[in-house]
Symmetry: C2
DNA sequence: TATATTTGCTTAAACGATTAAGCAAATATA
DNA sequence: TATATTTGCTTAATCGTTTAAGCAAATATA
């Protein structure tokens, strides 16, 4: 198979003995080109198997039609679902997305940002790594005038668009539910306080516990990296307490899975002896025994809103970033692990 | 924050009163530029916060330094791990990757290919959708002279590079293992025959069963979409048989998980009454009770080889595609679901 | 000292598409 | 019929970078 040269606008022009400019206009249905010429141009384009050179038009127009997406990992239902939704919306508008993973590493995240800027993306949609506390690289994006939209893991300090769920309220919902199930001593395995969303979940937990006059004790509130392994460790820690809790609210589904394993291994009756609620509504929560109650974060909607927000920026000529939060109400999905009444 | 113009090579040239060409060469450490000038150029570049315009150089050089990756979904440990590995290798060489998902849909896959070609990627690394049987779009990629590398789900007919594991042998390993555990009636919930890898697993199953003089019956060999739901359905089907199997080899971990649920729900003793082996070594196989034996596909290595194969193509000026298979030996990871002897 | 080579740049064209400006012919308007 | 407008194109510049070709000055070689 020979490596034949790609056809350009010039080739089409030569065939028809018209100028390349006319061809360009014909392909874009310019009103100043006759229908006859348009038809001819399109026919020749098809014959020559012409594909527009995106790099050339991007250079000329100063727009790449590429959008960068940064997530901690794609290997999670939440993120892959958000991405899918972003893609759906943006593809329709002629944009392509470049997905990158930070693997929760600040350094990798910075590298990703550099790579995306280098590729001349028209915008960046990101969810920050656990590790990220310094915001210099994100400031860099902002200072270049490139639209930046954060979702899930965001930072108020950056003063950019943010789409997420109401973490504080979600904690309230969970505690409310557990109280209704008759739980009287509720623990929380939370994420790192430095990450805003986890901090909000912790605050929500504290306030809800206070509201219901339940015991609010240091030993019941634990910070965790929320991996499966750490979920196991922190659950074990709770089981070692003199005064064990009768319910645990874990701020991530993977950690909740780890916790569940430990409970199973210790033959603890779920949910009677210990109720369990996770966060994220990963598909596996519905698939294991017992199934885990969890919070659905409306991943599709988050992706859709992130993409639409980007498109809004593109419509305006001046990029003026400001803290513009779009907060969705999450949904508690009650499953076996906390459904005491029906058992 | 004003939308300040990006600095170009010309701006640097103006500051130093030299030509843009000299600047370009200085930035690329051309031997014909004096050290003094190079230093000055780099300093000014830094001061002006100069970032090279990738689109311009890509256009000029006829290379975008972008590589397209197409996977059925990113939401699987295997694929996300392959992608991570590809990214690692290619980033080092100055390439960025564009990840797209087909969601197992032929149409989406075609759209993805079009989008990638439009973006002028330098190559495509892909794993085909379940649905894909027509190869026209992949032929299109080939005919454009763009390197195409397939992994996992590939097609011999395309005559391009392929990286995968030895599916046929893997089936043999599994059957061998189950026979060693004392199983005498082994069923196979396989993938669709039309997909080469699943067909190979089926062939391997058949030949291994014959080799060990075990019963090879139609009712023991079932085709499946390998989703969790279908795994449940097909396991149920096997349980409804008069003459039930004492072991099931499922060609995908998610379907194996579905099968496991049904077995648990029916209080069937695993592995004594029914042994179970999956395929893919998804992390959850190690995390559930009982843990599921599975085949590790060396995802990292597959990604690495795919990336290296692409880089090989780039080194040669003429892209000459041919069927070049790199087959890795998979590894059977024995876990509780098929570990009868130690129980 | 005369010639050859190397050094350190410049000039100008190119990559392929887009677009402002312009111009002749066709058509509309007065 | 004379002028204004519209139509349908062309010309040429442009986006920012790269690179082949060239040229003068500095240095090396004979």
């Amino acid at each position: 198979m020979a490596n034949k040269k790609k056809a350009t606008i010039k080739d089409i022009a030569n065939v028809l003995n018209i100028s390349p400019a006319a061809v360009s206009k014909a392909l874009h249905d310019d009103s100043r080109i006759s229908e006859k010429t348009k038809k001819a141009v399109k026919q020749v384009a098809k014959n020559l198997n012409y594909q527009p050179n995106h790099l050339a038009s991007a250079l000329r127009k100063g727009k790449s039609n590429l959008v960068g997406v940064i997530v901690p990992r794609t290997n999670s239902n939440f993120f892959s679902s958000v991405i899918q939704s972003i893609e759906e919306v943006l593809n329709k508008e002629g944009y392509n997305i470049i997905i990158t993973q930070s693997n929760e590493s600040y350094k990798k995240e910075c590298d990703n940002i550099d790579a995306l800027l280098f590729t001349q993306v028209d915008g960046i949609i990101a969810s920050m790594a656990n590790e990220t506390v310094k915001l210099d690289y994100y400031e860099k994006v902002k200072s270049k005038g490139i639209p930046l939209i954060l979702f899930d893991r965001g930072e108020n300090d950056l003063n950019v668009d943010y789409i997420g769920i109401n973490d504080y309220e979600s904690s309230h919902m969970i505690i409310e539910h557990l109280v209704n199930q008759g739980c009287k001593r509720i623990a929380h395995i939370g994420g790192f306080k430095r990450t805003r969303i986890f901090n909000n979940r912790i605050k929500g937990y504290i306030d809800a516990i206070k509201k219901h006059n339940l015991p609010l004790e240091d030993e019941l509130l634990i910070e965790s990296s929320l991996t499966i392994e750490d979920g196991r460790a922190k659950m074990q820690q709770l089981l070692n307490l003199e005064n064990k809790p009768d319910a645990v609210y874990v701020a991530g589904d993977y950690a909740a899975l780890g916790a569940l394993q430990v409970l199973n291994e210790n033959k603890i009756n779920i949910p009677q002896e210990m109720a369990l609620v996770g966060f994220g509504d990963e598909p596996f929560t519905a698939l294991i025994k017992p199934s885990i109650s969890s919070i659905n974060q409306h991943s599709k909607e988050i992706g859709r809103l992130a993409a639409l927000t980007f498109l809004e920026h593109m419509k305006k000529d001046v990029v003026k970033q400001s803290l513009n939060k779009q907060i969705l109400d999450a949904k508690l999905v009650v499953r076996d692990s906390s459904d005491i009444s029906s058992n």
